[in-house]
C-alpha cells in the first residue's frame, strides 16, 4: 500500500524548464512515473522532455485533467506564488523542493493549504519514495532503484541525504522500505513527523518506522507523545543527531534552518521524552539495522 505516493500517482512539475525541474523530471520518468506535463509562466506551448508546458497550473489541469501531485521546483523567492497556484487548483499533494523559502511565505502557503484541505510536503524536502511503486521529488536521484527496495520499514527524515543513507543502510541489512519520506529541515514544514507517523499507522505494508531526529524544535517530542498516547502503535526507532551543538550558544542555527540550538526543546528533553514514550532510541546510528532485526521477527 505505502503512503503519499504509489504506482498510480500522476505528477506535474512547476518550473519544468529549469535545471532542477528538468533533472527531477528525467529521474521521475526513469523511475516509471506518470509525469503529465509542466508549468513555466511565459513558456506555455513549449515542450520539455517530450512533455507539454503550460503557463499556469489551471491551464494544465483544464487541458489534461486533475493530477495527484504538483512538484514545485522553482527558486525560493518564487515558491510562494507557484505553491499558491497549485493550492488554488486543489492539487491534493504539493511537494516543495526549494531551500531558503522565507518563513513568512511558508506560513502563508501552509495556512492556505489547510483551508483548502491540501497536503504540503516541504519546503526544503527531497521528496518521498515508495520503492517499486513511485516517487515524487528528487529522492534517490538517478540511483533510486539501487538505494531503495520494497519492504515493511517506513522512514522519516528532515534531511534528504539521510533519507538515502537510511534507505541504503536498511536495504543492505536485507530489509525493504514501504515509503521513505523527506519532510524537510525548515522551521515550518507542511508534513511533520507526527503527520507521517499517522499515515504509517494506517498503512498495512508498514510494520516499523525509523525516524532521523535533529537538534532544535519540538517535532521529536510530539512524535514521542503520539507513541505514548497509543496513537502510533507500531515499533518506532528514533535516532537523534546534533548532540555536539548543545555546547554552542542558544539560537545558533546549523545546516538546516530548523536546527536551532535551544529552540523549544533541548536534546536532553528529547531523549527523556522518547525513552518515556516507549519508542526505541538508537544510541548509535549503526545500531539501527540490529534493532530492526530484533523488531521484525
Amino acid at each position: 500500500m505505502a503512503i503519499l505516493v504509489n504506482s498510480e500517482t500522476k505528477v506535474l512539475i512547476q518550473g519544468i524548464t529549469g535545471k532542477s525541474g528538468l533533472s527531477a523530471c528525467a529521474d521521475l520518468l526513469d523511475y516509471g512515473m506518470q509525469v503529465v506535463g509542466g508549468v513555466t509562466p511565459g513558456k506555455g506551448g513549449q515542450v520539455a522532455m517530450g512533455l507539454p508546458v503550460f503557463n499556469s497550473v489551471r491551464e494544465l489541469v483544464a487541458a489534461l485533467g486533475l493530477v495527484d501531485c504538483a512538484m514545485v521546483n522553482v527558486p525560493p523567492l518564487l515558491t510562494l506564488d507557484a505553491a499558491m497556484e497549485a493550492i488554488d487548483a486543489q492539487i491534493p499533494l504539493i511537494h516543495i523542493f526549494a531551500e531558503r523559502v522565507p518563513v513568512l511565505d511558508t506560513s502563508k502557503i501552509l495556512f492556505r493549504a489547510k483551508e483548502k484541505g491540501v497536503r504540503v510536503l516541504g519546503p526544503n524536502s527531497v521528496g518521498a519514495i515508495s520503492p517499486g511503486e513511485g516517487k515524487v521529488g528528487s529522492i534517490g536521484g538517478p540511483n533510486a532503484k539501487i538505494t531503495f527496495s520494497k519492504g515493511p520499514v517506513g522512514v522519516i527524515s528532515k534531511s534528504g541525504g539521510m533519507c538515502s543513507e537510511l534507505g541504503s543502510m536498511i536495504t543492505n541489512a536485507g530489509f525493504g522500505q514501504s515509503t521513505v519520506v523527506g519532510i524537510g529541515g525548515d522551521l515550518l514544514v507542511g508534513t511533520t513527523f507526527v503527520d507521517a507517523l499517522e499515515m504509517f499507522e494506517s498503512d498495512t505494508q508498514t510494520k516499523v518506522v525509523v525516524m532521523f531526529g535533529e537538534v532544535g524544535g519540538n517535532a521529536e517530542i510530539e512524535a514521542a507523545r503520539l507513541v505514548a498516547v497509543k496513537k502510533f502503535t507500531k515499533p518506532l526507532i528514533i535516532f537523534l543527531a546534533g548532540k555536539f551543538a548543545e555546547k554552542l550558544p542558544k539560537d545558533t542555527a546549523l545546516g538546516h534552518a530548523g536546527a536551532i540550538v535551544g529552540l523549544d526543546s533541548t536534546m536532553e528533553q528529547k531523549v527523556a521524552s522518547i525513552k518515556k514514550s516507549g519508542a526505541i532510541l538508537a544510541e548509535n546510528f549503526e545500531d539501527i539495522p540490529g534493532i530492526l532485526k530484533k523488531v521484525i521477527k
Binding site: S23, A24, P76, L77, E99, R100, V101, P102, V103, L104, T106, S107, K108, L110, F111, R112, V126, S138, I139, G140, G141, P142, N143, K158, S159, G160, G161, M162, S164, E165, M169, G185, L187, L188, G190, F212, E214, V215, N218, A219, E222, A241, G242, K243, F244, A245, P249, K250, D251, A253, L254, G255, H256, A257, G258, A259, L263, N284, F285, E286
Partner: protein
C-alpha cells in the same frame, strides 16, 4: 540573524514604534559627545546579543557623569555573557507609568505567527508563564491579514496599545522577522514606547532586504570570524546549491567539510565521540557547482596546525559527487603549504565511483595522503579512522620535531 537592541530600535522606528531617545556609542569619546545631548538620569545599556542584561549587571541607571564614565570605561571591551562589549547605548530615563510585555513569533506546531501580550512587563516572560500564566494573552494570527485590530482593542480595552501591537506586526512581516519582542513596552503619558527591542531576522528572508542597515553577525557569536564572513560570501554570490553559509570555529585540529544539513550533525557527533577535535563546522549541499566547493575547501583548510581533513556526507540523492569532489581537489591544490596531513573522504551517490578514481590518481600524482570510503562504510567508522590517522600523524610529527631538536643539541 539576531540584532543588537539599537539595531532593533532603528528598525522599529521605520514602522512608527518610538523608543526613549538614545545614542549608541562605541568608545569613550562618543560617550562624552552623547552625554551633552542627554539629561541625567541616563540609562546605560551594554549591547550584546545574549539576553539577561539586567540581571547580569549590564544595565545601569547613572545619575552623574562619574557613574556614567566608570560604567562605560569598565564595560567597553569587557566580556559580558561570553561576548565582547562593542557598543553601549545611552538613553534618557523615561517617566514610566506601566510596563508590559509583547512579542510575535511562529508557533512551529500550528505553523502560524502568534502574538503574546502581558501586563507583567519588565520581567522574564518564562517566569510569568510559570507563575501566573493567566496574565498572558495569546492571539493567533492569520499570516495574510495580520492580527484583528478590533479584537485586540476589545480585549485590551485600549486603542493606542492595540495600535502599538499592529505596528509590531508591521515590523514582523515587513522585515521577515522570526521574532520581535519588546520587554518592556512602557506607558509614558498617553503613548507607548519600546524600551527594549529584541529582533531575530529570518536568514532566508535576508535576500529581499539587501538594503537593511545592520551589522553582520556570527553564527555562534556576535562578531563573525574572518573565515565565517569569507564562507558566507560564497552563497551570496551564487544561488545554486549551498556551501559555507554556516561556518563555526571550534578551535580543534581536524578540518571538517561535511555535506547535508542532517548528515553534518551526525558527522560532528561521530567525530567528537571518537575523540576528535573539530577545527570547524561547515557544510555544502543541494548540488553546488564545483567552484563553490573549491572556495569552501580553501577557506576550511586555511588554518595552520591542522592534523587532518574530513570530507564526509551521506549517500547523496542528486548532488553530483564527481563535480563536488573535483571542486575539493581544485581547492586542495591551491592550499599553501601543501597539506601533508591525512585526508579522509566518505561519500556515496551519483558518480561517486568516477570521483574516487579521480582522487586516487590525484593522491598518487601529488602525494596527498587520501583515504577513501564508500557508502558501505558507516559514517562513524570513517570518523574513527580520521581520528586514528590524525593521532598517528601528530605523533610522527612530534617524533620529527624531537629528532630535529636532538640533532641541534648534538651539533
Amino acid at each position: 540573524m539576531k540584532l543588537y537592541e539599537f539595531e532593533g530600535h532603528n528598525l522599529f522606528s521605520k514602522v512608527g514604534i518610538a523608543s526613549p531617545f538614545f545614542v549608541a556609542c562605541s568608545n569613550m569619546d562618543e560617550v562624552e559627545q552623547a552625554r551633552k545631548r542627554l539629561k541625567f538620569p541616563i540609562v546605560a545599556k551594554v549591547q550584546v546579543l545574549s539576553g539577561k542584561r539586567g540581571k547580569g549587571g549590564g544595565i545601569k541607571i547613572c545619575t552623574n557623569e562619574k557613574q556614567l564614565n566608570d560604567f562605560c570605561r569598565g564595560m567597553f571591551g569587557a566580556e559580558f555573557s561570553g561576548e565582547g562589549v562593542r557598543f553601549i547605548s545611552l538613553a534618557e530615563k523615561a517617566q514610566i507609568e506601566g510596563e508590559y510585555y509583547a512579542s510575535i513569533t511562529y508557533d512551529t506546531t500550528l505553523k502560524i505567527p502568534f502574538l503574546l501580550f502581558s501586563k507583567s512587563g519588565g520581567m522574564d516572560i518564562e517566569e510569568v508563564k510559570k507563575n501566573s500564566p493567566e496574565e498572558i494573552l495569546r492571539f493567533d494570527i492569520n499570516p495574510f491579514s495580520g492580527p484583528d485590530k478590533t479584537n485586540l482593542s476589545k480585549k485590551l480595552k485600549d486603542e493606542t496599545l492595540a495600535d502599538f501591537l499592529i505596528r509590531l506586526w508591521d515590523a514582523f512581516i515587513r522585515y521577515d522577522c522570526r521574532l520581535v519582542e519588546v520587554n518592556p513596552v512602557a506607558k509614558v503619558g498617553d503613548d507607548y514606547l519600546a524600551v527594549d527591542a529584541k529582533i531575530i531576522l529570518d536568514d532566508a528572508g535576508l535576500a529581499r532586504h539587501r538594503d537593511l542597515d545592520v551589522l553582520q553577525k556570527g553564527s555562534a557569536g556576535a562578531i563573525p570570524t574572518e573565515r565565517e564572513l569569507a564562507a558566507r560570501k560564497i552563497d551570496e554570490e551564487d544561488y545554486r546549491g549551498s556551501a559555507g553559509s554556516t561556518f563555526i570555529e571550534f578551535g580543534g585540529d581536524i578540518a571538517v567539510l561535511a555535506s547535508g544539513g542532517g548528515a553534518s550533525l551526525l558527522v560532528m557527533d561521530a567525530l567528537s565521540e571518537a575523540g576528535g577535535k573539530p577545527s570547524n563546522y561547515t557544510e555544502y549541499s543541494g548540488n553546488p557547482p564545483r567552484e563553490k566547493v573549491e572556495k569552501l575547501t580553501k577557506i576550511t583548510l586555511s588554518k595552520e596546525g591542522l592534523s587532518g581533513c574530513l570530507v564526509c556526507g551521506a549517500v547523496a540523492n542528486f548532488t553530483d559527487i564527481y563535480e563536488t569532489l573535483a571542486g575539493f581537489a581544485d581547492g586542495l591544490a591551491e592550499v599553501k603549504p601543501k597539506p601533508d596531513y591525512p585526508i579522509v573522504i566518505r561519500r556515496g551517490g551519483p558518480r561517486q565511483k568516477e570521483a574516487y578514481e579521480m582522487l586516487e590518481k590525484l593522491a598518487k600524482k601529488e602525494g596527498f595522503d587520501i583515504h577513501l570510503f564508500g557508502p558501505e562504510t558507516p559514517i562513524s567508522v570513517a570518523c574513527r579512522e580520521m581520528v586514528r590517522l590524525s593521532e598517528k600523524f601528530k605523533s610522527s610529527e612530534k617524533g620529527q620535531a624531537f629528532l630535529q631538536e636532538v640533532s641541534k643539541v648534538k651539533a
